[in-house]
Symmetry: C2
Subunit: 150 residues, 2 copies
């Protein structure tokens, strides 16, 4: 995965994009942006709220969901549905940062992967199929190496 970029760039970029999209700046949004940018892995809404709370920067539930919505709208955030109704969010870093996820159903670990074969298959598939494919985010389930060993 692309991990060469410096950390604060996404938050900056996102803040700017939000401004250009006509949003004002506010404390909650800023805090959320910064938190997300620091994370290497996707967070759930509650995780975001709790993490911020731990830093004495409390943010309301409504704010978390509202900001998630805004960010997803502008394409700065990827929503990852990991099953059982659980949803996590992660920054979309660069343009070609497209990737998918592996979820360990035992410990819940989430890791990204890319695969050209899969992308090709999906591209070809979307021509043949009676559906105007919008976005795709594939989640593969299984047991991670640590869990599989046990």
């Amino acid at each position: 995965m692309t991990s060469t970029e410096q950390r604060p760039v996404w938050a900056e970029h996102a803040a700017q994009a939000l401004a250009e999209a006509g949003y004002r700046r506010g404390g909650a949004r800023r805090a959320i942006l910064e938190l997300l940018d620091e994370q290497s892995c996707a967070l759930s809404a509650v995780e975001i709220q709790e993490a911020l709370s731990r830093r004495n920067r409390d943010v309301s539930r409504s704010s978390v969901y509202r900001v998630m919505e805004e960010l997803e709208e502008i394409g700065l955030l990827q929503r990852v549905e990991i099953g059982q109704g659980m949803v996590r969010y992660e920054p979309v870093r660069s343009g070609p940062g497209h990737h998918h996820h592996l979820v360990c159903d035992r410990c819940g670990r989430l890791q990204p992967f890319t695969d050209d074969g899969l992308e090709r298959a999906i591209r070809r598939l979307s021509d043949r199929v009676p559906l105007h494919v919008s976005e795709h985010e594939i989640v593969i389930h299984g047991a991670c190496e640590t869990c599989a060993a046990a």
Copy 2:
């Protein structure tokens, strides 16, 4: 999709498999089995409950979920997570009935598809990836033809 099989076969098969697995027979389970067998498309838990209620065969919420769990356990039922935390269930008819789903994000329509390219990609992928892939059920999102036209 394989649609040549007569209808009541799955329910029979399922009932037998359950018996062999040591489950007793009970009214609720039987009713659910029959309902599922009649469906051409996957149903949600509430849909199951409501459909049965309309036939004056009320079934408790717990029963629906319990039976879903049992059936999934024995591999007779496929759980389909269609996003937004929504889950649907459908009979696994024959052995090689493996397929995936297209979901229209506007009207909610659900349709099955198979694609060898996709299967191949996933098979190769699962060798290369640090995860012991268990099962896979891919859900592709988009707009169905009717909705796309509008």
